[in-house]
Symmetry: C3
Subunit: 327 residues, 3 copies
């Protein structure tokens, strides 16, 4: 085959600066970000939002390939990364069936990752074991984006949560954020709390006794000077709340079913709840929901959980562009 | 990130009229179409056929994203929509594993659809429950295309069946269409019959006694003035048949195995059947087949079932382009 | 719809010669290739390597669609073909769930293939039954590429193995190739041996007694005049070896666990093994590995197994371009 050298020009990357503070970097944990980093990411995400609103899709990552490596199923997250890559003009290798594939023949995560980076330019990894994203990143030359590793981290969820607050309310400093539900096991509220620690906000925790926010996290935010309060019902803090972040209270967490029955009603958001909330308040949920928010609330303009999904698209577009040096 | 405004021009949609009678509409049921609608759809499908014959693929839907949401597996239908979108230059989010994903965590269909429309421009939905496509369409702002909802509807199958007849025989009026096999439970023959009711055709039904066409459907066609006959064997009507539409007779439908054994041979198409059929007759089957048509028939030019698959591609390309305002 | 005829020009294939000796051909077996064919394929693969190094992705197959039909899971091979098609600007219909789809409703392989070729331009097939690729090729008008059919053939693996040797060591003639491990059941070593028979190489076989290279293959190479030796341990042949091709010795192959325990250590490559090997020696493995090569070896520049994966990308890009007439 004669080398079609004229092609060498057709794909010269658009504005190929290959720079930016996250070029070639891994996205592993919310702890890696400074406040300045967050502002940078959100600036890019906002540009993505504008571009999508105007033209839907554009070829910023044309010719780039994402390996979407999901060791456990997550339609929502994998679809979001897939759409993000496609809206940037890139391609995706979707791997959702690790169960049945070479990995179950006993191959190590690092071998799988080192193989996939032969084919792809960036790897998004979802894995059930805490710390697996860091292990993968250590083995790989190409950037790894952690899309959730067990009870460990899910940094892109936390980034999209914070971006949602910023887009919905204009800024983050000065707000009162109330977290509701299972604050003990909820990975999303832990990560969000860590990011909020970089801002000047008040944080309220509302949960059943047995599902309280872990003390070490509360201590971490206290050290940063954030006012925090803890409650078992929403009533007292609802009127002052700017952002209500709802998570699911799973029946299985309770040993005592009577206790579960007695508390569960307090953690369901209804039209009645909305009446007592601020007019410009924002209701969030990482989804999927299973009863925590009544569907009657969906049409309230303050219900932001579906917009939250959309903000996730922009944040993931931003991260992909950034680690590939195109933002 | 500085907004790369020069990109704003590169993706201005080709011939972006964003009009057409199906722009932004859902495709839920064959009942929604007038004869005029059908002619419009078939005109677009024919243009698609010409384009594919000449250039294979083209960028009419470049930048558009289809969420291909399959709650039950159907390689044939999902591949057909996927190929349709790719031949139009668009991208696809394939979701084939709903079993293992957030949906099985208990998320409602409407929440799933409202999430996916944050990422995609159009949603193709296959779901085991009758009426689910309408529920999804009600929740979604983006167009929903029903790719089969239980024993309910599978409108794109019926459209491709009718398009096949039109392309193979030039027109539909004046033909004699014979439906063979399981006419009681066969979703495809019900939908096809409803569409044929808009034309001037004669319809013959050939089935075992216990698998006759439902009386309400026969009544519906009678009201429209279509001549219809019912038979238990093909012999009498084969000579006059222009289109023979074969469906599978499933053993499981019979309580009495002797009855099954006594009839099953009558519903298998062989080279012998073809000898007694018209020279320009068309043999159709929705596929997959499991013995209803002998493979020896495949090379007969009147065997249209593989071409039928191909016509399905053009019809689905047409529908995608139409609901996205590009046809 | 008015036919957007200006589009007819936008997709005129780049350098659309539609020629080349493999245009429209199936890739079914290593036995179909002459030495001259191999040189031709490797020349194209090398051009692909250069293109990927310079620009990552290019639009040689823009508008072409690959159906990636996997009846059994193989993340590695399916991802490799998917990436190959995407790096050439083409699209993919990924079918990884044949278990749950129309095929399990009893559809024949030939019907599935004849359906898919209505949507796609080329089909890559992985199937558990020996000979299935030939059956598919016989039914299909479009090119079939065999991605492994049972214990039969896996020609693209053998091609990438040989391409790896050529790229790593410059040429193949004159080398000493040692195959280690399960030589009785290992499909990859059988196919590689058949290709090596076209060159002037020495081949050493190292395996447990019960897993020796099949006599008919040894005879085949002897007929071509290749010197061959057989051993149960690596020690004697390691110093002269240019290429060491390691495969897994599966515990399950042994009836006698004592025998397994006594041999298994001899078939594990460690840093110690590397010390006794030539300075420009090449260590290969088809992957996945499960203990046969110690991870401590990975950073040795002579460990070529991850580069081997990358060469597979170029070989598969070459084959796709060739059968579609674009190389």
């Amino acid at each position: 085959m004669t080398l079609p050298t004229h092609l060498l020009n057709t794909h010269l990357p658009l504005g190929d600066q290959r720079t930016g503070r996250f070029y070639g970097k891994d996205i592993l944990s919310v702890s890696q970000f400074s406040r300045d980093d967050l502002e940078y990411i959100f600036g890019v995400a906002e540009a993505m939002r504008t571009m999508v609103a105007h033209i839907g899709t554009f070829d910023l990552l044309k010719g780039k390939i994402l390996a979407n490596l999901f060791y456990e199923p997550s339609t929502r997250t994998s679809s979001s990364f897939l759409a993000a890559m496609e809206r940037l003009g890139g391609s995706v290798i979707p791997i959702n069936e690790v169960r049945y594939s070479s990995v179950t023949k006993g191959e190590s995560l690092t071998d799988t990752v080192r193989t996939l980076e032969c084919y792809a330019d960036v790897i998004v990894l979802r894995h059930p074991e805490t710390g697996s994203a860091a292990i993968a990143a250590n083995a790989a030359r190409k950037p790894i984006i952690n899309a959730g590793d067990g009870i460990g981290e899910h940094p892109t969820q936390a980034l999209l949560d914070l971006f949602t607050i910023r887009e919905e309310l204009g800024s983050i400093d000065g707000l009162t954020v109330t977290m509701l539900g299972d604050l003990k096991y909820g990975r999303t509220v832990h990560s969000l709390a860590k990011l909020l620690a970089l801002y000047r906000v008040k944080v309220n925790y509302v949960s059943p006794e047995i599902l309280r926010m872990p003390p070490e996290l509360v201590a971490q935010l206290r050290k940063r000077g954030l006012p925090q309060t803890e409650h078992t019902t929403l009533d007292a803090v609802l009127p002052e709340t700017d952002v209500l972040y709802v998570t699911r209270v799973q029946k299985e967490r309770f040993e005592n079913m009577e206790e579960y029955e007695s508390v569960k009603g307090s953690y369901i958001i209804t039209a009645e709840t909305m009446k007592r909330a601020k007019p410009n308040f924002v209701l969030m949920h990482p989804l999927p929901r299973v009863g925590e928010i009544s569907p009657e609330v969906d049409d309230d303009p303050r219900a932001a959980y579906f917009r939250q999904m959309e903000y996730g698209l922009y944040v993931r577009m931003a991260l992909l562009a950034m680690v590939l040096g195109k933002a």
